[in-house]
């Protein structure tokens, strides 16, 4: 291959790489959830944990769970895209299993502590879950923002 041809091929390859970067940035901008989305997920998660800790009937928990589910489905459909989570799917499954296996005994513990400490115990656990969910959302959002090198997308 002559030098000119090599340079030409390289320029075309660079154009293709640039167009890939443009497309990835464009679609990631669409995938970034607004700040209210984080609250809409974290708040019901905290409320659900509090309700479970308070041993309130599942009948009252169902609407909160449904609200969370509807928010996710509605937003994903509206955005038209669903971003890949930053950690791999395998890591995410491991984290979820670990969280559930920690959360279930904690809820049972809180149900026992409720007799002594009253509502403070389930409320504290609910608040902790809310904060953890919100922090996870913020980290995920920042990871997406750093991928497209912009801080101005709300």
């Amino acid at each position: 291959m002559s030098n000119d041809l090599r340079v030409n091929v390289s320029l075309k390859a660079q154009d293709a790489l640039d167009s890939i970067k443009d497309m990835e940035s464009a679609v990631l901008r669409r995938a970034i959830q607004p700040w209210w989305y984080g609250l809409a997920i974290a708040l019901p998660a905290g409320v659900l944990t509090t309700l479970a800790g308070m041993e309130i009937s599942r009948l009252y928990m169902a609407p909160v769970f449904l609200l969370m589910l509807i928010t996710v489905v509605f937003y994903t459909r509206k955005a038209g895209v669903l971003a890949k989570p930053s950690p791999s799917r395998r890591v995410l499954i491991i984290v979820l299993i670990t969280m559930i296996s920690v959360l279930v005994p904690l809820i049972l513990l809180v149900q026992e502590l409720k007799e002594t400490y009253g509502l403070i115990a389930p409320l504290s656990l609910g608040l902790t879950v809310f904060i953890i969910a919100l922090i996870a959302f913020i980290f995920e959002r920042r990871a997406l923002l750093s991928k497209i090198n912009t801080e101005n997308i709300i």
Binding site: R6, V7, R77, L82
Partner: protein, 111 residues
């Protein structure tokens, strides 16, 4: 197995852009792809069909509010092929960069 592979199915500009759009995503709606690529439904369908035939892309269709909605996603084979293609493009660029550096060093040494 080599990590570099120039894929002729992927390299066509529109198909390359479809793969680039889907690579950072789990899934995307047909309309989003069409809007980002600024092509007609038929053009997008044609390219999607070619990627589907290569086993790089799959479609999921369902009805919502009486409307058919189509979502596309890259298969693991598609993701691997796209990554290998991008690596090949990077390799081609780096070869030319290396050549330019060598020629500038040669020029400097002759001066």
């Amino acid at each position: 197995m080599s990590h570099f592979h120039f894929d002729t199915v992927i390299h066509a500009p529109n198909r390359l852009q479809i793969c680039a759009l889907l690579a950072p995503l789990e899934t995307a709606e047909f309309q989003v792809l069409r809007d980002e690529l600024r092509v007609s439904d038929s053009v997008l369908s044609k390219h999607i069909k070619q990627l589907e035939e290569a086993g790089y892309l799959k479609l999921r269709k369902y009805k919502a509010n009486g409307r058919q909605r189509t979502w596309a996603y890259l298969t693991s084979k598609g993701r691997k092929a796209f990554e290998a293609h991008v690596e090949e493009l990077r390799r081609l660029v780096s070869i030319a960069d290396g050549m330019q550096n060598n020629s500038s060093i040669r020029k400097q040494s002759t001066i």
